[in-house]
């Protein structure tokens, strides 16, 4: 079922259901809180990739897979 916006009260602020924030985020903001999709070759682990990016970008980095042990 298509999801809709349900308003709690009458408001002049129309909410737009969108995957992007209305105000474009700066690079600095996205580096603090953002994501990248990395095409990882066979060899280094996801954990290592995250560590390398952390070292280069000097921001906290975690990964969400490919989880495999």
């Amino acid at each position: 079922m298509q999801r809709r916006i349900l308003y709690r009260e009458i408001t002049k602020n129309k909410i737009i259901l969108s995957p992007e924030p209305l105000v474009k985020k700066s690079i600095e903001e996205k580096l603090q809180l953002g994501y990248s999709i990395i095409d990882k070759p066979k060899g280094p682990t996801s954990h290592q990739i995250a560590a390398w990016i952390r070292d280069e970008f000097k921001v906290p980095v975690a990964h969400s897979g490919t989880l495999d042990i």
């Binding site: 709690r8 969108s18 995957p19 209305l22 580096l31 953002g34 990395i38 990739i49 042990i69």
Partner: protein, 222 residues
């Protein structure tokens, strides 16, 4: 998956089909979670190719499935043994392999240095994406600017703070807490269904689990 012996193709198909549905998996010794067996759902296994002892499988499974273990277990049931030779994740959530924003580590580093050294952000902007995209699939609660300070400093979300919700908010759902400009400031757990929240005059509607962006000046919004 590489088989350790010769297997009749019909037998292989029969055994693989046995693994579709709910299966028990015991996490491997070298794993981050507790070692007690757990149930994982295997939604589908498709045999894409068979070449000698190599079998190419396309598996759609629940998060946290050990695919290496799955291959091993298929081998056990077949009797000959098998192991996972290679693994590629071709999709997760609403992301997939054909996404044009996908990048390699080299490209990402190149883009980062181009921004850092020459202030050209075009490539980096393409590869580093806002969190809102990734969490778009989650139900959402939109809150007033005036509540951002207290919510990002540990307050529960009370009904008067809510401007709107998405219709997929259910009791106990994990939700994103958004500003009216569609910026995610926190992740929380809803107490009520969306239809109830919008009718509520006062009371707690959701609890915050993780603040993603702390808002320091109360009421100023973005």
């Amino acid at each position: 998956m590489q088989l350790h012996g010769d297997v009749n193709e019909n037998e292989l198909r029969r055994v693989i089909n046995m693994f579709i549905g709910e299966i028990y998996q015991k996490p491997p010794l070298r794993s981050a979670v507790s070692k007690k067996p757990r149930i994982r759902k295997i939604y589908n296994i498709e045999i894409l190719d068979i070449k000698g002892k190599d079998v190419l499988l396309k598996i759609k499974c629940q998060a946290g499935t050990y695919v290496r273990k799955l291959c091993h277990d298929i081998g056990e049931v077949l009797g000959c043994g098998a192991h996972m030779k290679d693994l590629r994740r071709i999709g997760i959530g609403n992301l997939n392999e054909n996404d044009k924003r996908i990048t390699t580590l080299h490209e990402l580093f190149g883009a980062y240095r181009e921004w850092k050294n020459y202030n050209i952000a075009d490539y980096l902007n393409e590869f580093v994406r806002p969190i809102e995209e990734l969490l778009f699939f989650l139900p959402k609660i939109y809150v007033k600017d005036s509540s951002l300070f207290s919510i990002t400093h540990g307050s529960f979300i009370a009904a008067p703070a809510v401007v709107a919700v998405t219709s997929d908010v259910k009791p106990k759902s994990i939700v994103t807490i958004n500003t009216i400009y569609n910026e995610i400031i926190a992740i929380g757990k809803s107490e009520l269904a969306g239809e109830e929240i919008v009718k509520l005059k006062h009371g707690i509607v959701a609890k915050v689990d993780k603040v993603l962006k702390t808002i320091e000046n109360a009421g100023s919004g973005i």
